[in-house]
């Protein structure tokens, strides 16, 4: 066996790949499900926190900033382990799937809150004043004037951050979530061959490359002349 053949046999073993393709496909579905839940709940919670923060109620804002800084500082893996292994001590036993979802959603919430908040505060005061001077309420000004502009500004950093955090679904493997990496690693142990990892990497590319491309497209489409 030449080195090249050995390399192919190790990472691109067709027989092993075919054998474990269904497992990886199943893992891909779990990853998609987990990713969709993380993105939807994380961004929604982040936007909600930013909106609450914009009301300018000081004690509440201090709390928001504390929570946001906490989840921005902690490694996502630490949060997953805390929820999965820590919560049972208080008689709550979330599954690995729920632990991973919650952890990543909290982290995305924290980062996206900061991004949404930066977007909202970057809108010039004159926009608020013009809208309020025509009789629009605070909420109407936020919804019709400030948020549409703020969200456009936040799309590029938000897309990057969302992709980075969503890739963290692979951390679920630590708490036995049968997502792509989890399925691939157990296939590696069962087959004594790393080819399933190659399959897994391909699955991640298929999932995340389109997100990167859509992000780039949104970035160019969402700019407008001032």
């Amino acid at each position: 066996m030449s080195n090249w053949e050995r390399f192919l046999d190790t990472f691109f073993n067709g027989r092993v790949m075919a054998r474990y393709l269904p497992d990886i496909a199943y893992g891909t579905l779990v990853t998609i499900e987990l990713a969709a839940l993380v993105i939807i709940s994380g961004l929604a919670a982040g936007l909600a926190l930013a909106l609450v923060r914009s009301l300018g109620f000081r004690p509440l804002n201090l709390l928001i900033v504390f929570v946001v800084d906490l989840f921005r500082a902690l490694p996502p893996l630490v949060i997953i382990v805390f929820i999965y292994f820590g919560l049972p001590a208080v008689e709550v036993s979330p599954s690995g799937f729920i632990s991973t979802w919650l952890s990543l959603a909290l982290v995305l919430m924290a980062f996206s809150e900061e991004i949404f908040w930066a977007g909202i505060t970057s809108i010039h005061k004159g926009q608020w004043e013009a809208a309020r001077s025509t009789g629009l309420s605070y909420g109407q000004t936020l919804i019709h004037v400030v948020l549409p502009q703020a969200i456009r500004l936040t799309i590029p950093p938000l897309t990057n951050r969302t992709i980075a955090i969503t890739k963290g679904t692979a951390l679920g493997t630590v708490v036995a979530v049968s997502e792509i990496l989890g399925m691939a690693s157990s296939a590696v142990s069962n087959s004594y061959n790393p080819s399933p990892l190659t399959l897994g990497a391909i699955a991640y590319l298929i999932l995340f490359l389109p997100m990167v491309i859509v992000g780039r497209w949104l970035e160019t489409r969402m700019t407008w002349k001032r």
Partner: protein, 247 residues
């Protein structure tokens, strides 16, 4: 009996931190009257204007616009503001909306007009400022003068009882000033009550009924344009007038 004034502000005080920017200012504007406010920067003239629609909250005093007491906590300020148009130095158009979208937003959301009617009123307002054919343009595609005229259309579409102008031409290139002043002159001829903070002395001479000179938070002197510009009684007014006329 005299008709009720459109604007009746009495004893307005305003502080920014330790700074006492308005020290008991009175301003009464009658129907169809154009009142011009001049004064050095920091004199409190813009702040006074912003107290008239409660963009700034006065610390003391009363502001009654068209019979509605703006400082009464029971007053629906959003409803009252429809009757008080405001135009800003930096236009403040919504960049993500077309000219028509800018004009119709409050018509739909505040005045509660259905979209078709709001569009019709919006187009009429844009026609009044000479921009009917620019209805579909975004602010970024318009010149500064056109943007400011859209901003005026946005305010007059709500049929205000008084229009407040806060240095409406200060951010414009000189060749664009004329078009905005032209629209303001038309408004004046239609009988709109107006309060204008500006340095456009030529316009003040031609169009103003009354000129107020403010300095350090008080109205130092007021009178007809001729009286204020030709023979001011106060030393401070004289100094200010001669200074701006030197330019």
């Amino acid at each position: 009996m005299l008709p009720r004034p459109v604007v009746e502000a009495r004893g307005i005080h305003k502080h920014f931190g330790a700074l006492h920017v308005l020290k008991g200012v009175d301003l009464v504007v009658a129907e169809r009257e154009l009142v011009f406010v001049i004064g050095p920067s920091g004199s409190g003239k813009s702040t006074l204007l912003r107290c008239l629609n409660r963009l700034e909250e006065p610390a003391a005093g009363s502001v009654v616009i068209d019979g509605v007491n703006l400082l009464d906590p029971r007053t629906d300020i959003n409803h009252a503001r429809q009757r008080i148009g405001m135009v800003f130095q930096s236009f403040n158009l919504y960049p993500h909306m077309t000219a028509l979208g800018n004009v119709t937003l409050a018509l739909r959301k505040v005045a509660g007009k259905p979209r078709a009617e709001a569009d019709e009123l919006g187009r009429a307002a844009l026609a009044r400022v000479g921009l009917a054919e620019r209805a579909g343009h975004r602010p970024g595609e318009l010149s500064g003068g056109q943007q400011q005229r859209v901003a005026i259309a946005r305010a007059i579409a709500l049929e205000p009882r008084v229009m407040l102008f806060d240095e409406p031409t200060s951010a414009l290139d000189p060749e664009l000033v004329g078009s905005v002043l032209g629209v303001m002159r038309d408004l004046r001829e239609s009988g709109m009550a107006m309060v204008v903070v500006s340095h456009e002395m030529g316009f003040a001479r031609n169009a103003a009924d009354r000129v107020l000179f403010m300095d350090q938070g008080v109205i130092v002197e007021e009178g007809t344009p001729a009286a204020i510009f030709e023979s001011p009684a106060q030393q401070r007014t004289r100094a200010f007038i001669s200074q701006i006329q030197r330019h």
